[in-house]
Symmetry: C2
């Protein structure tokens, strides 16, 4: 009997299971608990592409030594309001969370801070780290290198990273403004999902390996094609900006005689709002701006104008107690990983 | 006899004339000389939309008191690695140049700095200020509020600013990486130029006042329509990010019971590269990255892959001695402004 595609799972149970999987993978209880919280946060917000579906893969990588289970992220350069963190080839999220903690502390002291990360691996949704700064009363910025999937403007071959950037800022309205965007029209995961479902894609999304617009997702991934930058050369330029900030500035792996590799480097920034004005004044201004944005006419069928991060925050609030609809491939992978680790699965409602 | 659309003018002569016009408008010799250099820089780079065509208008505004000829940009908040500059309602460029000077000095001391500007006016191309930081061995970031021309995602009315952002970083290859992009598919000036020429526009560029895609530029400007965000909701989100950084953070005019007004607030950031690694090491890495970007296949008919800022730098180098092709409306406006001020025009070759 075919299993349903979606079933609700318990958020707290999912977080506990993911933490136990990472403990099994060799992480300390503290790091494992953080990974549970961080990956479930993405699922709660509806960003399943960066959620718990990754947990079984990370654990396999830890067991195989591709990720260092004993990694300890450390500050290797510390000068005033900037720092460089070495990720020690561990699970990427841990070093970037640590780097943003460093940036927030420095921003509280100096007003703003920039912290680069090198020698790190895939770190999931950068929105998490920008949000971390916003939760601490800062404007947060975070970016990471992604897979090399974009051609330079005028070129045909993959050279520029699919590097997401995120800004976050607190409001007083129950959500945090949080923009998290790839420099391409769509994320690579959307190409893969269309391919796996046997669907065609809009011709604007990307090019085959000869640079022709294509509706065949497999001509892009794994076919060697490229993703179209958002706004053409603008998206390419944004990808290059993140390559510079994430890889060149922290002196990461990129261009040390290698192709850029996924997740090599990251950058996080925090600007302490209280250095500019009282936080309550800032959130008051934000609230008036949101009210102003929402004061105009809406498109037919649109119930409200939503800011980046607003729908995600609303979804997370509902799912925290109401359960997270998790798809069948993710549930199956988590169940198998639990079995292999000798852990109880039991997260479905 | 109709005058040709383009004639070459002498760069040094143009800079001198513009400076004299601003001196006539009441600026100090130092500020006037800077305005000559700054506006001619845009023309040299081929960014005529932000070049000397603005000079006569600014001088009229100075004479009429809409811009304060006696403005003195001052630091009104100074805390560690952040500051707020008050533009004193002067010519906008002067306060943002000053703010970036403050940011660079603070970045040399602390590693990075963020400086907001308020009570300011139109400041031209933000690329100039990001470049200023790159020239000083920093990664520069600059953004400004623009006219309110974008609808929030799902909305129909103008609410979000057409706010450009710019990043710049030095290379060792004779140009500075410099991305300067509006959050819309095209800049507002392209809509106006098409309208003035009686041309249609692609339907993707914007919407009429009822939210329908339109090929009629006058349905957007001045027809009350809106510009499409680059990548739809992504461009809208970038516009909002700049609204927050430029207007909310420096506590500018925005949303103090008013519509956002053009050029009210700006943000500049500098990250000192030497705090992270020796500058020569950084530019070496940048050069290897550029070489890598350029190493792939090119589209048919494309002579090379160019990075943001590369074509502009090449153009400026040629035009510095070879002359700047200036269009007839700009030449006429400058000639008339010179006559009214009792100044010699004499810039055409």
């Amino acid at each position: 009997m075919a299993e349903e595609m979606y079933r609700d799972v318990d958020a707290a149970g999912l977080e506990r299971l993911v933490a136990e999987l990472f403990t099994h993978g060799g992480l300390t209880p503290g790091d494992a608990a953080f990974m549970g919280e961080c990956l479930v946060d993405a699922d709660l917000r509806g960003v399943h592409s960066h959620g718990t579906r990754w947990a079984p893969r990370y654990v396999v990588s830890l067991k195989a030594g591709h990720l260092n289970p004993n990694a300890k992220a450390t500050v290797v350069v510390d000068r005033g309001a900037i720092a460089i963190v070495d990720g020690d080839r561990g699970v990427g999220h841990i070093a970037v969370k640590f780097a943003m903690d460093v940036a927030i502390a420095k921003a509280k002291q100096y007003g703003n801070a920039t912290v680069g990360v090198r020698n790190n691996s895939h770190c999931g949704a950068v929105a998490y780290y920008a949000q971390q700064a916003a939760n601490a009363g800062c404007i947060g910025f975070a970016a990471t290198t992604g897979g090399t999937m974009i051609a330079p403007w005028g070129g045909l071959d993959r050279r520029v990273g699919l590097n997401p950037i995120s800004w976050a800022a607190p409001t007083g309205k129950g959500f945090t403004y949080n923009l998290d965007m790839a420099p391409s029209i769509v994320a690579g995961s959307k190409i893969e999902m269309a391919r796996d479902r046997g669907e065609q894609i809009p011709a604007e999304w990307g090019y085959d390996s000869d640079g022709n617009p294509t509706t065949d997702p497999s001509a892009i991934m794994p076919g060697g094609g490229t993703l179209a930058g958002v706004g053409g050369y603008k998206g390419v330029g944004l990808g290059v900006a993140a390559d510079i900030l994430c890889s060149i500035l922290p002196a990461g792996r990129y261009h040390e005689g290698q192709e850029p590799t996924q997740g090599g480097g990251m950058i996080v920034q925090a600007i302490d709002i209280e250095h500019f004005q009282p936080l309550a004044e800032f959130t008051g201004r934000m609230d008036r701006m949101v009210t102003y944005y929402k004061s105009g006419r809406k498109r037919p069928g649109v119930d409200d104008v939503y800011l980046p991060g607003e729908l995600e925050a609303g979804r997370a609030a509902v799912r925290q107690d109401g359960g997270i609809p998790l798809d069948q491939p993710t549930r199956t992978a988590l169940r198998r990983a639990a079995e292999e680790a000798g852990l109880a699965y039991g997260i479905e409602r």
